[in-house]
């Protein structure tokens, strides 16, 4: 028997013995993931379905199954407070998405140049992320306070007419919250991006240099497209953070001045727990869910559905 025959023989054996064990393996695998899938199914899908169902009722203090059709949604979309919340979330979301990507990537590119004491910087950049949004909100409430914060410091330096008071100005209060959000999040994005940059082969840099491509062009045309998975990860994390934005607002402005910095999550919670208007809160959270799905489903389809076909 030649060596090749031998190998073929053993491969055939392997094939034979593997079959049953594979079946068995698949079964235990399925059993192993049951607790997790089950909890996800029951908790997320079940509870969400419950909320959607009750959003069509007239429940006030207690959930009750008296259906009133689209009434809650009509009322929701004619409430000024909800419209402001949605607008705020859109501004906050778009700006923080763009800014945290730009800042995070710039910082990462900066640190990727083998700066002395990189570990120290990395930890410092990460520190804000390790804080609770409550702490971030309180700290920035103070820094942006017109009497003790940035505005006063700049005025003391001699620029008497300097005005920077976002938290008391209804038109720009959301940007005051945005600053705090960016401060908290961009270091984290930086670390993810840095890991992505480190994963890129040094030869690519060399090749770009040999070809005489300027550094910025290498980043834009070569490096960033190569970091696609990293960007997707960062995107998932930032987006989930944006939709969640609640504690930051509560700590920093409590939705003020007036209702200028309200966000959808806060609207929902207040309707449910404070103004005893459960179904209205459910309708609002259903709308939030819907808007997430509108973004999520096409993206998931492009990202994963396309690959399967190709």
């Amino acid at each position: 028997m030649t060596l090749a025959d031998n190998a073929a023989q053993s491969r055939a054996n392997e094939h034979q013995t593997k079959r049953p064990s594979r079946l068995f393996k698949n079964m235990t695998a399925k059993v192993a993931s049951i607790p997790m899938v089950l909890t996800a199914l029951v908790v997320f899908v079940g509870c969400t379905a419950w909320t959607i169902t009750y959003s069509f009722t007239n429940s006030r203090l207690l959930p009750r199954l008296e259906f009133v059709g689209w009434d809650q949604y009509d009322r929701l979309w004619s409430t000024r407070r909800w419209l402001i919340s949605i607008e705020n979330l859109a501004i906050f979301g778009i700006c923080s998405l763009i800014l945290s990507f730009v800042i995070g990537f710039t910082l990462a590119a900066l640190l990727d140049r083998k700066i002395r004491g990189e570990a120290v910087f990395r930890t410092i950049f990460l520190y804000p992320f390790a804080l609770s949004f409550i702490v971030t909100g309180l700290v920035w409430q103070w820094i942006l306070n017109p009497d003790f914060g940035i505005q006063q410091v700049v005025r003391d330096w001699g620029w008497e007419s300097f005005v920077f008071d976002p938290l008391n100005n209804a038109d720009i209060v959301i940007f005051g919250i945005l600053i705090a959000g960016i401060w908290q999040g961009s270091g984290f994005i930086m670390v993810i991006m840095l890991a992505g940059l480190r994963g890129i082969d040094e030869d690519i840099w060399k090749a770009a240099r040999v070809d005489g491509i300027p550094t910025w062009k290498t980043y834009v045309l070569v490096i960033i497209p190569m970091m696609r998975p990293v960007f997707v990860t960062a995107l998932v994390i930032i987006t989930s953070g944006i939709i969640k934005v609640y504690d930051l607002v509560v700590a920093q402005t409590s939705g003020g001045p007036g209702i200028a910095s309200e966000v959808p999550a806060k609207y929902v919670i207040e309707k449910m727990f404070q103004s005893q208007n459960l179904a209205q809160g459910f309708a609002a959270s259903t709308m939030m869910l819907l808007s997430v799905l509108v973004v999520l489903i096409p993206w998931a389809y492009l990202e994963f559905g396309g690959k399967k076909r190709g």
């Binding site: 909890t39 990395r122 702490v135 309180l138 103070w142």
Partner: protein, 276 residues
Amino acid sequence: MARAVTTRRKVITTAAAWAVGLLIFFPIYWTILTSFKTEAQAINDPPLFFNFDWTLENYTLVQQRSDYMRFLWNSVIIAGGSTLLGIIVAVPAAWSMAFVPSKRTKDILLWMLSTKMLPAVGVLYPISLLFVQFNLLDTRFGLIIVLMLINLPIIVWMLYTYFKEIPVDILEAARMDGAGLKEEILYVLTPMAVPGIASTILLNFILAWNEAFWTLNLTAANAGPLTAFIASYSSPEGLFFAKLSAASTMAIAPILILGWFSQKQLVRGLTFGAVK
């Protein structure tokens, strides 16, 4: 990554990094500094940097008003408990996804992850109803369960990426030697994945530690962790900055210290999925 960087350029980038670093660190530094001032000094104009009388009175006052140790203990139990429970549930699931992938594995993983993007307010009320039903409101156990569920997708995802790096052959060799499923996971896979598991634990501990949405809505006096402690200082005493700073410092100190000593694991944990 050693690229041909001129000295001048290196100086500039280092200076820029320092500037950004200082800018980012300043709010934290300022909070800690203010916690040692009196209320009058805290709002002094111009701001005082070192020329003030350091005092511990804010810490004493905060401690008198609310029992820090109880909040701290709640935080430790809730964050630790939910992370450990999550790991116990997630290891078998991640194992099956990494080593016995089916056609659906990627879909399930993606689907699990996407639940992280759904608004939590959508499930808040049903969950609080369940809490009332099972007498879990304002208990540490209830919060452990909820935070475990909230962070489970991330735990599974992280473990999955780490497990995928472990060669299947090793597990198969163990199986050849007669190791059962339990032994395979417990004695072969887990020890090999210790660094990854450590990072997962660390990141989720921090996430659970900082969780405010659920803790503020599902706890009161009894099981409130440090996020509730600090939130209680926000609105009614908004202008007492020195006390607020002392409370903030007390709330963030454990996590800053933990972060400093475990930054390597933390960075690895935070880059889950981003790097292979």
